[in-house]
């Protein structure tokens, strides 16, 4: 099978003498760094840690569900398991996953900047993330929390005696980390673009991060104040959400979902950015309908703020508001459909190769399509009544979040790994991992759609025996999936020392980040670059290479 990977001659190639990795050694040079690339690496390490913590809880949940009764653990332990799984995965993995690691690393380079606009705030954001993470772990070690990641009142405020306050404050702090990341991105995109880098020359990765950042900046504060009210209500007993004092618990639902629905797009939009880059690079073509894909990101960001009440169709909101929110939900599905078709047509008349990032991207397209279309089931009000709060919804958001976002994350990590470390990952093993992940994923989550339609409720520690077969399948799949996630962890670590030297542009990609050395120097560019070509201009790249060959040779 042919490939576009072009590596320098391995016998003579070395890593560059000067790069951000060897610009200062020792813990202090990392922990006090202002370099967006180092902060990205710090983030990468910490979110990987939390991913495996969250994955452990997911494993425990699946293990308990192997049999109908609660035999492995007691019901309250189970509740703590899925709560910690949710909190860790949503707030400590998915929300920062692509933006804080890959975005942090490549976004400034893509726009031609030497760093993000506010390096210190970027570092602060990582520290806030760590504090949030440590508080979550503290809540766990002190005895756990069992509210579910949704912190539903009045359950969370009056009926549980677990560490709700610690967990709530942890999410509050982690939320500010996300606000600062978003703020940094927006300002960087507006003010730090290199000369010639117009808005429509920006890679689609930047567009999607910009859209996600708008959501982070405008949505997260609402979650923050909601959690403050929950904590105040729990600690001193104010009555904003307490029905006994005249408060309305539905107001909590409104405020919570006002953030948590856009949060879904905070999680998926950066992943879509990765897919745009990867599909374009490995089909050697400009993304089909660049403008449409760019604006569909913006459209998603705008609509995302007006669909939150579709989480509350069965909660007795008025029929008319249900109508409006259902309609808007249908509208927000359209930009995602546009993206999927545009990516598909990017392949048309391309020159396609199947490197690992591309395999993950294909996985993303298939799984995200399923995830998105099942979202239409749930947005359709009458269908939502039967499906909501069952395993159908669990399967739906795992198809979007894990099948979509995690695939995109792994795709991105493989794609930019040579840029981050200067070394290639092992190709054969990584293709195997992509395949294992895909199979494991489908085995885990597809049965859950059927379970959901059969009516199995989510968050059940015990279930009627007729659901066992599908649950066993799902647990078996989770095992495979676990292997699929451990593999990259192992071979990527291995490649840090033994991987092939990648050279500046192993993929022959057009992004600005590929025109500098790998790994880059601390200030990214020797001189401020001037951009005189459109995004995804492979002819420009070919001419440039030819020109170099001519002048050098």
């Amino acid at each position: 099978m042919s490939t576009i990977v072009s590596l320098p001659d391995q016998t003579t190639a070395t890593l560059p003498k000067r790069s951000y990795l060897n610009d200062g050694y020792g813990l202090k040079s990392w922990l006090l760094t202002g370099d967006h690339k180092r902060i990205a690496i710090l983030y990468l390490i910490s979110i990987t840690f939390f991913f495996f913590i969250g994955g452990f809880f997911a494993g425990m949940v699946r293990l308990e569900l192997l049999t109908p009764p609660t035999d492995l653990m007691a019901a309250d332990t189970y509740n703590k398991m899925f709560t910690m799984h949710g909190i860790v995965m949503v707030f400590l993995f998915l929300v920062p996953s692509v933006p804080a690691t890959i975005g942090n690393f490549v976004l400034p380079i893509m726009v031609g900047a030497k760093d993000l606009a506010f390096p210190k705030i970027n570092l602060l954001s990582w520290y806030l993330y760590v504090v949030g993470g440590v508080m979550t772990l503290a809540a766990l070690i002190l005895g756990g929390v069992d509210t579910g990641w949704t912190f539903t009142t009045p359950l969370s405020t009056h009926y549980l005696n677990t560490h709700v306050v610690t967990a709530g404050l942890a999410v509050f702090v982690a939320g500010f980390s996300s606000i600062f990341t978003g703020l940094n991105f927006i300002v960087t995109v507006h003010r730090m673009r290199a000369p010639g880098m117009t808005w429509f020359r920006l890679p689609l990765f930047v567009w999607s991060h910009y859209a996600a950042s708008v959501l982070m900046v405008l949505g997260t504060p609402v979650l923050a104040i909601t959690l403050v009210l929950v904590v105040l209500e729990r600690v001193i007993g104010i009555g904003v959400f307490d029905p006994a004092k005249g408060g309305d618990p539905l107001l909590f639902q409104h405020l919570f979902w006002f953030y948590s629905h856009p949060a879904v797009y905070i999680m998926i939009l950066p992943g879509m950015g990765v897919i745009s880059e990867v599909i374009s690079t490995f089909s050697r073509k400009r993304v089909f309908g660049y403008t449409a894909v760019a604006f569909s990101s913006v459209a998603i960001a705008v609509f995302a703020f007006f669909v939150w009440a579709h989480h509350m169709f069965i909660m007795g909101i008025s029929n008319y508001s249900a109508l409006v929110f259902s309609l808007l939900t249908m509208l927000v599905a359209v930009p995602s459909a546009i993206k999927i078709f545009n990516w598909s047509f990017t392949l048309y008349k391309g020159s396609i190769t199947f490197e690992t990032p591309m395999l993950y991207a294909f996985g993303f397209m298939g799984l995200f399509t399923i995830g998105g279309l099942t979202g239409v089931f749930l947005g359709s009000m009458g269908m939502d009544i039967h499906l909501t709060e069952t395993y159908f919804i669990v399967a739906h958001f795992h198809f979007v979040m894990v099948g979509g976002m995690l695939m995109a994350f792994l795709s991105g990590v493989h794609f930019w790994w040579p840029k981050m470390t200067g070394r290639m990952y092992p190709e054969g093993l990584s293709k195997l991992a992509a395949l294992v992940t895909f199979i494991g994923f489908n085995l885990t989550f597809f049965p859950q759609f059927i379970l959901g339609y059969l009516g199995m409720p989510r968050r059940y520690a015990a279930y009627p025996p007729e659901f066992q077969v599908l649950n066993v399948l799902s647990t078996a799949g989770a095992t495979v999936l676990g292997v699929g996630y451990l593999l990259p962890m192992l071979y990527l670590t291995w490649s840090l020392k033994y991987g092939k030297i990648a050279g500046p542009n192993p993929w022959q990609a057009t992004g600005l980040e590929w025109q500098i050395q790998s790994p880059p120097i601390t200030s990214n560019f020797e001189e401020t670059p001037v951009i005189d070509y459109e995004a995804y201009d492979y002819e420009w790249l070919a001419n440039k290479t030819r020109h170099e060959v001519q002048t050098v040779g």
Binding site: L218, I225, G237, Q515, I516, Q517
Partner: protein, 247 residues
């Protein structure tokens, strides 16, 4: 070298690089960009603050609609005098802050320190008065959750003879009013405390002359923050103290 630079005309005169002022951070091309960037960032941050308080205002509007008599009765328990003094104090502090920014622009070190200290003093006065008000609420048993009692609302209040006492069910809803009162003014006070703490750092740095050598973006941005906190109060004061006075 070829593999590192992409395109390649240098944008600015290299001679200029030699005269970098010390406060120009390495990743900005020039001072103007640096200033624009940080101001833009500050405005964006204030936008997130608006969303933060927005959740509270939204809750306030909903409950005010539902429990109008309770909100009227609740607001009658606040002291307009103290609220008005605090409003005046805050407006003055915004003035002193603005003068501070002006002083920094003019590169006057001592006046800058003076105006910043005045701002700190006014901020502390505001917090002091707020503390007095909170204490009064505590003594009158108006703190929901901790020591709330409906007594002041089910009986005739001698200070407001035209106010009818509330029926018990509505009187209990004043808890919602006071919950929001404490949440809103508490969050505002927290912003004030943060502001005063930052001001102390600013004074120290100003003493060292950091803002009077042409680089005063920090002072300017802090000014934006301070005015924002002020404006939040300008909304809180009428909503919590005033608009239910004359039904």
């Amino acid at each position: 070298m070829d593999s590192q630079a992409i395109a390649t005309q240098p944008v600015e005169d290299h001679a200029e690089h030699a005269h970098h002022p010390p406060y120009l951070r390495h990743h900005f091309a020039n001072l103007e960009q640096q200033k624009e960037t940080s101001t833009f960032g500050m405005w964006l941050f204030l936008l997130t603050e608006i969303m933060f308080f927005g959740g509270l205002f939204c809750a306030y509007l909903i409950y005010r609609n539902w429990y109008y008599p309770a909100f009227v009765a609740g607001s009658h328990q606040l002291s307009i005098l103290l609220g008005a003094i605090n409003t005046a104090v805050l407006i003055c502090s915004s003035f002193t802050m603005a003068m501070g920014v002006h002083a920094a622009e003019m590169r006057w070190r001592k006046p800058l320190i003076g105006w910043l200290l005045a701002t700190i003093a006014l901020g502390c006065v505001f917090l002091g008065i707020k503390a007095v008000e909170y204490n009064e609420k505590w003594e009158k048993h108006h703190v929901p959750g901790l020591n709330f009692s409906v007594d002041s609302f089910v009986h005739q209040d001698p200070h407001y003879p035209e106010d009818k006492p509330l029926p018990l069910d509505m009187a209990e809803k004043t808890q919602v009013y006071f919950s929001l009162y404490f949440a809103m003014t508490g969050m505002h006070a927290l912003h004030m405390v943060i502001g005063v703490s930052l001001l102390i750092i600013l004074v120290v740095r100003a003493w060292q002359g950091a803002y009077t050598q042409g680089h005063m973006t920090t002072v300017e941005n802090f000014g934006l923050y301070w005015h924002f906190v002020d404006i939040v109060w300008i909304f809180l004061f009428p909503l919590l103290y005033l608009i239910s006075r004359h039904q």
